[in-house]
């Protein structure tokens, strides 16, 4: 494996025992977007690949939170033609395809990236940077050719790119013609969690936990040991879970996100939560199984050595180049992995616990285990004109000069105008506001007395860049007040999609697992650099996207309703 430069672009080149493969990576991804332009990077990726049509060789594009890359497998000539073609397309995107590609993205709805932890991202970060992976590609309708060109000019440049080639030599005649531009560091991850460890109520039978740890080989080993511990305890010994998964996702800021999930039957949700927390506790209080550690280290060393032979470590190293991180030599990584001790894993387990976020199964609480409830509402309401709810006595919409609030009993949801991540706007006056912290408000003139008059006021104050116009809704689909309906009925409306969540999350987990196994053809799992998670987990995602956001929004509303009933 050696580092060279091709047309001013840093590249990692190394031999492979398998088919020749190569890829071109840019340091741009969903985390760089805004919610109101969510999907723009993916759209660029699709447009850039359009010219290849139905090629004979394998090629694909991938958009992750931090990177976008185009990769292919074929002969030297095919690779050279593909990479040059991508650069040519990026310089001159086929804008005549814009509407068709948008439609494709909308239809396929495969724009969401991630896997186990999409709603985790939303709850951890809010509706910004690393939280955006939890949202649909809402920006698509608002994205025009000018915006696309500006996005490409900012991010798809020579200074923000890196290349890998798994071959003995660089394909003859390879040229990469990209515009100049500076490197673009990834944004700092923001937080929507005032305190960690934290929890929020999920509604399926799956418990999901994620945590931020230092990006280092020991953290990858910890993730694999955690999976073995969960599998042994929850599945083999206690029969509570069928499917247990973990993911290790390194980030450019020197941290890595660990995600772990375990499913359960409806009657075992409390037990799977308790059993899951017991496993986390055991690891952080020193009960790390030495045999597990030895086994995992053995596997990792084998995987990495084999990956090196196939050129499977090259993509990860190219991503290191484009994000300004040092290239990692195999020997050094192997030495670090071999040096991992159970004591070190106990330390990492402690760090992981303190930064953790837990999605509980079936709406259960986790405060008993010492976790803080993630915010489901806002601290304060704005001052302004109040419009009474036509459905629920005492509930009201308040539109002020600083923002909008909905108040019901003690529950307050506020989106300030200077914190609007996106506002979806329907011609009938319906507005859906998403604040940077992930709090959402549905402003429906049909549901709050006199609120139609407040819509122009609201529209004037929400920044234009945050607005995304929506196609007209059929009059039949407009919400109608149900004055007799009490909280129960409203909650009932929300539980429809939540029940779907219960069905699809386990399905998604299994699919993602399958996807990550079957799709990693070129890039073997590399514990420190890139795991399989960088590849699109198409199967799981296609299933999730159809329902995903509605559920998240519903969960938040449901949570509020439950709290109101409990008190």
């Amino acid at each position: 494996m050696r580092r060279i430069e091709i047309d001013g672009i840093p590249a990692m080149v190394g031999p492979t025992t398998g088919p020749m493969h190569a890829g071109l990576a840019f340091r741009v991804g969903q985390a760089d977007e805004t919610l109101a332009r969510r999907g723009i990077t993916h759209l660029v990726e699709h447009l850039a690949l359009h010219t290849f049509g139905v090629a004979d060789h394998h090629y694909n594009g991938t958009t992750t939170p931090e990177f976008t890359y185009f990769h292919t497998q074929g002969t030297a000539d095919e690779i050279a033609a593909f990479l040059a073609g991508v650069c040519r397309s990026l310089r001159d995107l086929p804008m005549h395809r814009l509407d068709v590609e948008k439609e494709l993205l909308r239809t396929e709805r495969n724009g969401r990236q991630g896997g186990l932890g999409d709603s985790m991202a939303l709850w951890r970060h809010g509706a910004r940077d690393y939280g955006l992976t939890g949202y649909p590609e809402w920006g698509l309708p608002a994205i025009g050719p000018e915006e696309l060109r500006a996005w490409v000019a900012t991010y798809f440049t020579r200074g923000n790119a890196a290349l890998w080639i798994a071959a003995d030599d660089v394909p003859a005649g390879l040229t990469l013609d990209l515009p100049d531009g500076p490197s673009r560091p990834a944004p700092r991850p923001s937080s929507a969690l005032p305190r960690t460890p934290a929890w929020f109520p999920g509604s399926s039978g799956t418990v999901v936990w994620d945590a931020v740890v230092p990006r280092q080989p020991a953290s990858g080993v910890f993730t694999a040991v955690l999976e073995r511990s969960l599998m042994r305890s929850l599945r083999q010994e206690q029969g509570l879970s069928y499917s247990v998964n973990t993911d290790y996702d390194p980030r450019t800021d020197g941290t890595a996100l660990i995600t772990a999930a375990a499913d359960s039957l409806p009657e075992k949700r409390g037990a799977v939560l308790g059993g899951f927390l017991d496993v986390l506790a055991a690891l952080r209080f020193g009960q790390v199984d030495e045999k597990d550690v030895a086994t995992v280290i053995g596997h990792r060393v084998d995987e990495l050595s084999q990956a090196e032979e196939r050129g499977g470590r090259l993509p990860g190293q190219a991503l290191n180049l484009v994000s300004g991180r040092p290239v990692e030599a195999l020997e050094q990584i192997l030495a670090e992995i071999r040096a991992v001790t159970p004591e070190r894993l106990t330390e990492i387990a402690g760090q992981a616990w303190s930064t953790g976020l837990l999605m509980t199964p079936g709406g259960r609480s986790a405060d008993w285990a010492g976790l803080a409830a993630a915010p489901t509402g806002s601290h304060a309401a704005v001052q302004g004109h109040a419009h009474p709810s036509l459905e629920s006595k005492g509930a009201r919409l308040v539109v002020g000069n600083d923002g909008v609030s909905i108040i019901e009993d003690t529950d307050v949801a506020t989106v300030r105008f200077d914190q609007v991540s996106a506002m979806l706007a329907w011609p009938d006056g319906g507005r859906f506001l998403i604040g940077a912290d992930g709090i959402t408000l549905r402003v429906e003139p049909t549901l709050y007395g006199g609120s139609a008059a407040a819509i122009p006021h609201l529209d004037a104050r929400v920044p234009a860049a945050a607005r995304v116009n929506q196609p007209p809704r059929s009059p039949d689909n407009l919400p109608r007040p149900e004055p007799q309906a009490q909280a129960k009925a409203r909650t009932g409306r929300s539980t429809g999609p939540i029940i779907m969540l219960a069905v699809f999350i386990p399905l998604m987990l299994v699919s993602c697992l399958l996807g990550s196994v079957s799709l990693i053809t070129m890039n073997d799992p590399d514990p420190d650099v890139r795991s399989g998670s960088v590849f699109l987990l198409i199967f799981g995602l296609a299933l999730t996207v159809g329902f995903g956001f509605g559920i998240v929004a519903a969960i938040r509303r449901l949570r509020a309703a439950r709290q109101a009933r409990r008190s």
Partner: protein
């Protein structure tokens, strides 16, 4: 037979007196000596009784901090925090507990849960810790499934751990989201699984008395008749079995429970046999839960059962 019954737990169980006194003078080493000298079930029982004393939370927290390798310290602190919460909640049915009581109850039980979470993580094979995790789970409604998971972990360590079985039986009752079918089945199954002469038959007796108390007068009569043979069979297998060892506090508790239930069933013959086995020893907890005047109830039941033949 003597007319005065010994009901003082400190007299009935000298080890308890030693343990309690050591705790009250903050002498953990001496307390540990006692805990290390008894059976696992007695150790759990001692920790429970100890947690009901006027202990200092600071002292117990210090113990856990300085002795993280000592499972008994975690069990005692966890149990103490749980008891503190239950004392605020009181044993009243949920609808008679005030909002403030609930808040304090959850506060203390959550603290207990966190101590016991760490304790179980550090000492996964300790039966006292897993036993302590049962009433805390039940109190804050973690669900029958989670409580059962914890009971199963306990059973994997000690399948005849009566203090834990008694807690699990409570969770299986309808008042804690179980059913009488579940509770009876568990009681019978654990009684049958225990060797003859083990006290596990009290689980059957407890399930029956809990059931009877939920029935109306008319239903009660039918129930007493129908369940009588089952109760006798449980007594025969446990406290009335020749292998049953008397003279321990655990035996006193088992006999007392049977005495209470047999008396309620009107089974004078079996009650008489149980009282004769008790001799002049009488543990009060079974009577405490049965009457506002437990001492009076005890003597009255005894007089009835023995038909005036002291």
């Amino acid at each position: 037979m003597p007319l005065t019954l010994e009901t003082d737990v400190a007299k009935l169980w000298p080890a308890f007196a030693t343990f309690r006194d050591a705790l009250l003078r903050l002498d953990w080493s001496a307390a540990r000596v006692v805990l290390d000298s008894v059976t696992p079930a007695e150790r759990t029982e001692l920790i429970t009784l100890g947690s009901e004393q006027r202990l200092s939370e600071d002292f117990l927290r210090g113990l856990v901090r300085t002795n993280p390798d000592d499972p008994a310290a975690f069990a005692l602190l966890g149990k103490f925090l749980t008891v503190t919460g239950w004392n605020i909640r009181t044993a009243a049915r949920a609808q008679h507990v005030s909002k403030d009581q609930w808040r304090a109850f959850y506060h203390w039980l959550n603290l207990a849960e966190q101590v016991l979470l760490e304790g179980a993580a550090r000492h996964p094979g300790d039966p006292a810790i897993w036993t302590a995790r049962l009433p805390s789970a039940r109190g804050i409604s973690l669900g029958v499934d989670e409580e059962t998971r914890r009971y199963n972990r306990l059973a994997a360590i000690d399948q005849h751990h009566l203090p834990g079985q008694a807690h699990h039986l409570q969770q299986l009752l309808p008042k804690w989201s179980g059913s009488f079918e579940l509770a009876h089945a568990f009681a019978r199954e654990r009684t049958a699984a225990a060797p003859p002469g083990y006290p596990q038959g009290v689980l059957v007796a407890e399930a029956h008395i809990e059931h009877v108390l939920e029935l109306s007068g008319h239903e009660q009569r039918a129930y007493l008749q129908q369940a009588g043979p089952d109760l006798r069979a449980a007594a025969d297998r446990s406290v009335l079995n020749p292998g049953f060892v008397t003279g321990t506090y655990a035996a006193d508790l088992a006999l007392g429970t049977f005495a209470v239930v047999l008396q309620r069933f009107g089974d004078r013959e079996y009650a008489g046999r149980v009282f004769r086995l008790m001799g002049n020893r009488a543990a009060m907890p079974p009577w405490d839960g049965y009457s506002d005047m437990p001492s009076g109830a005890l003597y009255a039941a005894r007089a009835w059962a023995l038909g005036g033949q002291n």
